[in-house]
């Protein structure tokens, strides 16, 4: 085991304090200089982490009641009345509640209230905080991570958590052939048969991981759902039960999961955070019809709903008995361009499309105003989102100029693939068809059934395609790797190859200096924007609606609902 590196640990502490705003610039500079950093390095580190905090202010949560904004997150819980079951309505069902073999957000966003990980994403959505691990050390060479578990944590059946449960859960997550979240475990050591090695539990309260290479996103990977800690006694030898049953340390335990009907969460009496959760339980009801779901909320049968069609938002905002929430998400919508063939292989043609896209109108028409025009392919407010990137303002003259420099100055025909029956896609594609016809680009909209759409995507048999992204981890490497690297997915299936961007991506995954990392990812976003293999359209918030009796409803950027501090007025 490597000795604790004091400098790294202290610096990490200091950067957390900057971000939380609990340290002044002068105090930080004094300590950083004492640690041996240069003046300019200290200065940049400070500004980086402070800027991260400020980004949040520009991407706020908005909550309105009857059209009037109110305070978003209610941190004052003194008047909170505990108890009651929150009845929630959703559009799509969960598939599998096993953190390792699951594939759908509709499962993940709920079992994350049942399972904890060693680290979790902080409420701001761009930093990490301790969860089941109270603290951790990273070796100088970045290869060894030592996690110190929080003492006295119990599973919801009363059995104690030990490092053996973590070991079991992590080894299973790395080795199980049915799991698809392999990208997070790329850096782990593997033996000759491909089984993971290097994860050990020297005592009941410690877990050590030795990586095969330095991998800066590792802590974000630890916070991801596939490394949830499952009770070994519950699951070992009987792993099929995990599809429909859960045993975790989270604020809630699984009540029951009746597929097609309801998923219920019940308060975990042994939860390690004192006094939480406030609710007795959450009933997640499946209500597939949009109208029925809204009717049930308005009629008092439900306390909250998600999957709200955008065209109903104005009407719901006008209702004085309802709270309408817009939470910043990492949801970004793009048009992917297959750059392997003409005319899209010409960067000027692609830039012409960028300039000819009126993003604000798209937001108004498709999202009924509930969204933000996109500049970068990374989601707004995500870690290292380039806030200096201007993107392409709507400018038909510039669009014509770019097109004139391309191989097809008089325009061209373009096939745009969308998902059939998906209303947002349909209105977005129609609007784009109209916009792009102004520069001579004739769009044919091609609605495809979901399964066929996915095939066209993975086999890159599309010309232009409507797609979206949400982050699974806070580290930018997930999206950037997917959108830039050639291996596996050929740059989000666009076929784009740029040597500089690819090199920078690999560097970014190994670079531990936050300031250098920020510069790397800023540059990648610039290059991506210049070359435009994808047209970022807009950033879309998470829309939820509850009654006015519900308080402190939270939908964090990672999407995983946080019901811990939610409470309802009784009576």
């Amino acid at each position: 085991m490597h000795p604790r590196p004091e400098r790294t640990e202290k610096l990490a502490q200091l950067t957390r304090q900057i971000h939380d705003g609990t340290i002044s610039r002068r105090a930080f500079m004094a300590r950083a200089l004492a640690l041996g950093l240069s003046v300019s390095a200290s200065d940049t580190v400070f500004r980086t982490y402070r800027a991260g905090a400020q980004d949040q202010a520009e991407n706020p949560i908005t909550v309105t009641v009857g059209g009037t904004p109110i305070a978003a997150v209610e941190t004052d819980l003194t008047n909170a009345t505990p108890g009651g079951t929150f009845r929630f309505g959703r559009l799509e069902d969960s598939d599998v509640l096993d953190p390792v073999t699951t594939t759908l957000n509709t499962s993940i966003w709920y079992f994350m209230s049942i399972y904890d990980q060693l680290i979790r994403v902080a409420p701001d959505g761009i930093s990490l905080e301790p969860s089941l691990a109270e603290s951790w050390d990273i070796s100088e060479d970045g290869l060894t991570y030592t996690f110190h578990l929080r003492p006295n944590v119990l599973f919801s059946d009363g059995t104690p958590l030990t490092s053996a449960d973590v070991l079991y859960s992590w080894v299973r997550a790395a080795n199980d052939p049915g799991q698809i979240w392999t990208f997070t475990l790329d850096a782990m050591k593997r033996d000759a048969e491909g089984q993971v090695e290097g994860i050990t539990a020297p005592d009941d309260a410690t877990v050590v991981v030795e990586l095969a290479k330095p991998w800066v996103p590792f802590l974000s990977d630890v916070a991801m759902f596939n490394l949830s800690v499952i009770s070994k006694a519950f699951a070992e030898g009987n792993e099929e039960r995990l599809a429909t049953e859960c045993m975790g340390t989270g604020p809630f335990a699984l009540g029951e999961f009746r597929a097609g009907e309801i998923l219920t969460l019940v308060k975990n009496p042994h939860y390690w955070e004192e006094g939480l959760p406030l609710l007795d339980g959450v009933d997640v009801n499946l209500v597939p019809d949009d109208n029925a779901r809204i009717l049930q909320l308005q009629g008092g049968e439900l306390d909250g709903i998600m999957d709200v069609p955008f065209n109903r938002v104005p009407e719901l905002q006008a209702d004085p008995n309802l709270k309408v929430y817009q939470f910043p998400s990492t949801y970004t919508r793009y048009i992917l361009l297959n750059v392997r063939e003409a005319p899209l292989d010409d960067v000027h043609a692609r830039r012409a499309l960028q300039y000819a896209t009126d993003r604000q109108t798209l937001v108004d028409v498709v999202l009924f105003g509930n969204g933000i025009p996109a500049t970068s392919f990374m989601p707004k407010g995500a870690l290292y989102w380039n806030d200096t990137l201007e993107g392409y303002p709507y400018d038909l003259a510039k669009a014509q100029e770019e097109l004139a420099q391309s191989a097809t100055p008089d325009g061209f025909a373009l096939e745009l693939s969308t998902i059939a029956g998906f209303v947002s896609d349909e209105s977005m594609a129609t609007a784009l068809k109209d916009m792009w016809s102004q520069i001579g680009v004739e769009v044919t909209i091609s609605p495809l059934e979901t399964s066929i759409f996915n095939e066209a995507f993975t086999n890159a048999t599309f010309q232009a395609m409507s797609q979206y992204w949400t982050n699974d981890i806070i580290d930018p490497d997930e999206l950037v790797g997917f959108a830039v690297l050639q291996e596996s997915v050929q740059a989000f299936h666009t076929g784009w190859e740029n040597a500089e961007a690819q090199d920078l991506t690999r560097q970014g995954a190994a670079e531990s200096d936050p300031q250098k990392r920020k510069e790397i990812y800023f540059r990648i976003q610039e290059i991506h924007s210049e070359e435009s293999p994808m047209l970022p359209l807009y950033y879309q918030p998470y829309l939820n609606v509850t009654t006015t009796q519900v308080h402190n409803f939270q939908h964090p950027p990672t999407g995983q609902y946080n019901w811990k501090t939610t409470w309802m007025e009784q009576g």
Partner: protein, 312 residues
């Protein structure tokens, strides 16, 4: 040939029909584009993970082997493992099937309860006020789509008047009856117009026929003429239509299941197809096929009670 032997013969013939159906469904699933692994993994899928999942699901085996493996399981009543839910189809299907069958049965009962009196009275008081109002009303309910009628019922009877629950299936048969009433009524109102029409027409035909004139001449009271002679014959086309409608309802209840949030088999099948969940689609279709065949058999047997001329 007596009825008992006829039924046994029909049931025996069911086996080759079902075999044929499994071949057709299996082939169709393979023919339509889209593959389960890619569909399950979605946008974030990498080729390595897709390949690994295909291998784990046995999708890279030759087609005849996949079919044979599925059939081997079916004859031992193992309906396979759902690709999407990762649990056995046998644990998923019965509960959902119960809801759909209860709904279809309830809808059939309501259809008969509505159609019989309306059809008879419309025929007997032909072109009167009752007949015209009934025809107009049923024309409207025939034309209005189920999801619209369903939402109307929900808004009015469930939310405003609070007479019925808004969603779900409930616990215990009393709650089931209560929860299923509005959905069953929605379905009944879309089938009843056809049955009423058919009944009305065939009753009118019967009333004008020779044997009825003979019966009247014989001195039978009008009521006896209608109930003993006319009705039994008039029911035959109506029963045919009803049997066909019920068969069509298997899997056709999806829209109503959607609107009323009922955890039924129709929605299960539609979602399974979209997810390319081959075992779930194949097994659910198989079960539906059995039920449709049984309904057809039932209809044919009912004929023999209605019309002595029908020889099985």
């Amino acid at each position: 040939m007596n009825r008992g032997r006829y039924i046994v013969r029909r049931l025996a013939l069911m086996i080759p029909v079902l075999f044929g159906i499994t071949v057709v469904v299996f082939s169709l699933l393979q023919l339509i584009p889209g593959d389960p692994a890619t569909t399950i993994l979605g946008a974030h899928a990498r080729p390595e993970t897709v390949a690994a999942l295909r291998h784990e699901l046995g999708l890279d085996r030759p087609l005849w082997e996949q079919y044979l493996r599925y059939m081997q399981n079916v004859v031992t009543f193992d309906l396979g493992q759902s690709l999407k839910f990762k649990t056995s189809v046998g644990s998923l299907l019965p509960g959902r099937l119960e809801v759909t069958l209860a709904l279809i049965t309830y809808a059939t009962v309501l259809t008969i309860a509505i159609s019989l009196p309306l059809g008879i009275v419309s025929a007997l008081r032909r072109n009167g006020i009752f007949d015209q109002v009934t025809r107009a009303f049923l024309m409207v309910t025939l034309v209005m789509p189920a999801f619209w009628v369903g939402i109307l019922f929900l808004t009015f009877f469930s939310i405003r008047l609070q007479l019925f629950p808004v969603a779900g299936y409930g616990d215990g048969w009393q709650e089931h009856l209560h929860h299923l009433f509005l959905p069953a009524l929605t379905i009944a109102l879309s089938i009843a117009p056809l049955i009423v029409r058919a009944l009305r027409t065939s009753i009118l035909e019967g009333l004008g026929s020779d044997y009825v004139r003979t019966a009247r001449a014989k001195g039978l009271r009008e009521q006896a003429v209608v109930s003993t002679h006319v009705l039994r014959n008039a029911l035959i086309p109506a029963v045919t239509l009803l049997g066909l409608s019920v068969g069509y309802l298997m899997g056709g209840t999806v829209i109503v299941e959607n609107v009323f949030s009922l955890p039924g088999a129709g929605k299960l099948l539609v979602d399974a197809i979209a997810a390319r969940d081959y075992p779930l689609v194949q097994s659910t279709t198989l079960v539906f096929a059995v039920l449709v065949i049984l309904v057809n058999l039932g209809t044919d047997v009912i004929y023999t009670f209605l019309d002595p001329r029908v020889r099985l």
